[in-house]
């Protein structure tokens, strides 16, 4: 109805909150497809991401390679995927390379939307953490991790003096009506958190019985939740004010709030923070596969990953030891504790069932 400012689940990523009307921008960008034949069109989430990339990344890339970049603001949700797919059927590519969230990657793989990437042309990609490389069932590479970030256990230091150490703190009876959690099954990853905390790992989610175990455990949490949020700014404000003193939130954004002097903290629980990421993928309709490979390879460089951590606040997609990030800089965006990796496959194969169960669970 009004501004599309929702936290966009898997496909949108947190940065898109600033992308009011990005959908319109994306559509309006379409006519420029023909004009900019000599440049590489790169789709990034509109708003904060696009602004940061335009400012810190793309000019450097053009300087280094001579390839001009035209950045395209991606709309939120599945809209971009739909546009890419429909354009591809007409042999058009609104963007050659796009930053795509994980479930979107999987959907694109199902639709054979992505050009298979040639690792020989991506020497730097060898350093990318294995869970951030997307593959077709036959092993061909569909996407390479672009950025990743962490969702951690956050709390207000005034309201909760003791630092929590486990996600189990969410279940503490003392936290009655005090939590702020993300409202969607597919962006909160609380099933994974529950499985990792109480059932020995996300493997427990392999079976429906295991999923139901986690739902059951999660429903105990309900009375503790004051705010099931879709709008990140709303939770952030409530957390800073102590109105909602605990919850899950983005590690790097919380770090910025700490730096600003707000009484908040971000904790990597012993079970690990939740990592989420976006990947670079190339539309099969793109005629710029060469340049796209050069771009992706460039982005995988340790120096660029460090630059992203410093300027955009994302966690490196490669082993930190290969970067020149200081401990403090690294702690600002990531952690050495093994992360909880979301079960993206579930959100593809059982999306509707999980969503329905989840909604019924939180509505009660």
């Amino acid at each position: 109805m009004k501004t599309n400012n929702m936290a966009g689940g898997l496909l949108v990523g947190r940065r898109a909150i600033l992308a009011g009307g990005a959908a319109a921008v994306g559509l309006m960008a379409a006519p420029s497809i023909l004009r900019a034949a000599e440049t590489l069109k790169v789709g990034v989430y509109g708003g904060y991401f696009k602004d940061s990339f335009d400012k810190h990344i793309f000019p450097e890339f053009t300087k280094a390679t001579g390839i001009a970049v035209e950045s395209v603001a991606e709309p939120t949700g599945d809209a971009w995927l739909v546009q890419l797919e429909q354009a591809a059927r007409a042999n058009q590519a609104p963007a050659d390379v796009s930053m795509i969230a994980q479930v979107g990657m999987l959907k694109g793989i199902n639709a054979k939307l992505w050009t298979a990437l040639d690792l020989a042309k991506l020497p730097n990609a060898a350093a990318v953490l294995p869970h951030l490389v997307n593959k077709y069932p036959d092993g061909r590479v569909a996407g390479i991790g672009a950025v990743s970030w962490y969702i951690t256990l956050v709390s207000n230091t005034k309201a909760i003096p003791e630092t929590p150490s486990s996600w189990a703190a969410l279940w503490d009876a003392k936290r009655k009506d005090q939590l702020g959690l993300m409202a969607l099954v597919s962006n909160s990853f609380l099933l994974e958190v529950t499985a990792a905390t109480f059932f020995g790992g996300t493997k427990h989610l392999d079976t429906e019985a295991g999923q139901l175990d986690c739902f059951k455990k999660l429903s105990e949490l309900r009375k503790n939740v004051k705010l099931w949020y879709r709008d990140e700014a709303q939770f952030e404000a409530a957390l800073k004010a102590g109105e909602v003193p605990m919850g899950q939130y983005y590690h790097d954004v919380t770090g910025l709030a700490v730096a600003d002097g707000h009484p908040v903290r971000s904790t990597f629980p012993k079970e690990g923070g939740i990592t989420d990421s976006g990947s670079w993928a190339v539309s099969r309709a793109s005629k710029k596969a060469e340049q796209a490979h050069i771009f992706i390879n460039y982005m995988c460089q340790p120096s660029i990953q460090a630059l992203l951590s410093r300027k955009v606040g994302t966690a490196p997609t490669i082993d930190r030891k290969k970067t020149d990030l200081t401990d403090a800089e690294f702690a600002g965006v990531s952690s050495d504790i093994a992360p909880i990796i979301p079960r993206y496959d579930l959100y593809l194969s059982k999306a509707d069932w999980l969503n329905q169960k989840w909604t019924e669970m939180i509505v009660g």
Partner: protein
């Protein structure tokens, strides 16, 4: 002057433009939505053209029935509250000097320009324990400790009513400013106090406008999807919230479309019913 029935195609000229607009901006999108609502959802993908009832079948459950009834009740509550507040307000407004009226209307229009998000945030803050209105009550000694009034049903109602209020005033304003002021004076000379005259003359004389406004606010409130999220708990989420979830986050267009079609049909039905009841009342 005789009115002649249109004979040639050109005689329909004057209505061609509105008809085209209606077709372009209502009939076509709504038709597309109906079509999509019968498409086959492909889990893990998008949807494919088909003719299946499964999207509607999924909707026909106790869970969605409860959400739908809550949405309807919420919208009805918002409609009644908005009109109950806006009607006397607008009545008093139309009694003021022209200049003052214009200032008020400009102010209300500027409230309209606020986005739902800003309204939601503002009310979340106003109803919070830390910075909220209850602190004032504590200062005045009326309360012991500040409490948080959001999220909750009250907060949702307040937020949507706040948003609907300017619309309500603007819809009621023409009818109330056209109302012959001597009607009220006649009521006074016939023995009604101003309050009694308001309820026995102004309200019933404008009951058609009131019903029309109620329906408008009802439909408006039915479409709200941000404020219930910002100010409510999950049990206060309306069907529109779930539609948004399905469309934006689950990429389940067919199901979202089926729910939207159902919502439109139910609200059209309710509107029709209330008009029918109104007609019967008028005839009786």
């Amino acid at each position: 002057m005789m009115r002649q029935a249109p004979r040639r195609a050109a005689d329909y000229g004057p209505i061609a433009f509105p008809a085209a607009m209606l077709l372009l901006f209502f009939a076509v999108p709504f038709g597309l939505m109906i079509a999509v609502s019968f498409f086959q959802r492909v889990e893990g993908g998008f949807y494919e053209p088909a003719f299946v009832w499964s999207n509607y079948a999924r909707f026909l459950s106790v869970f969605f029935g409860r959400v739908l009834s809550f949405s309807m009740l919420l919208a009805a509550g918002v409609a009644v509250l908005s009109v109950a507040l806006a009607f006397p307000f607008t009545y008093l407004l139309t009694r003021l000097r022209r200049r003052t009226q214009v200032l008020w209307l400009v102010f209300l229009l500027s409230v309209l320009s606020l986005s739902e998000v800003i309204i939601g945030f503002a009310w979340a803050t106003l109803l919070s324990a830390n910075a909220g209105l209850t602190n004032l009550l504590v200062m005045l000694g009326l309360m012991d400790a500040p409490t948080s009034l959001s999220p909750g049903l009250g907060a949702v109602l307040v937020g949507i009513v706040y948003q609907a209020f300017p619309y309500t005033v603007l819809v009621l304003y023409p009818a109330l400013s056209r109302l012959d002021p001597t009607l009220m004076e006649a009521a006074r000379t016939l023995g009604s106090s101003p309050l009694k005259g308001f309820f026995t003359v102004v309200v019933p004389a404008l009951r058609n406008s009131i019903v029309a406004t109620l329906i408008m606010v009802f439909v408006f409130a039915l479409g709200c999807y941000l404020l219930p999220q910002l100010l409510g708990r999950p049990q206060h989420w309306t069907l529109s919230v779930l539609i948004t979830d399905q469309a934006l986050f689950q990429a389940n267009m067919p199901f979202a479309a089926a729910m939207a079609v159902f919502l439109v049909l139910v609200s059209l039905g309710l509107v029709g019913l209330s008009l029918l009841v109104g007609k019967k009342e008028n005839a009786a």
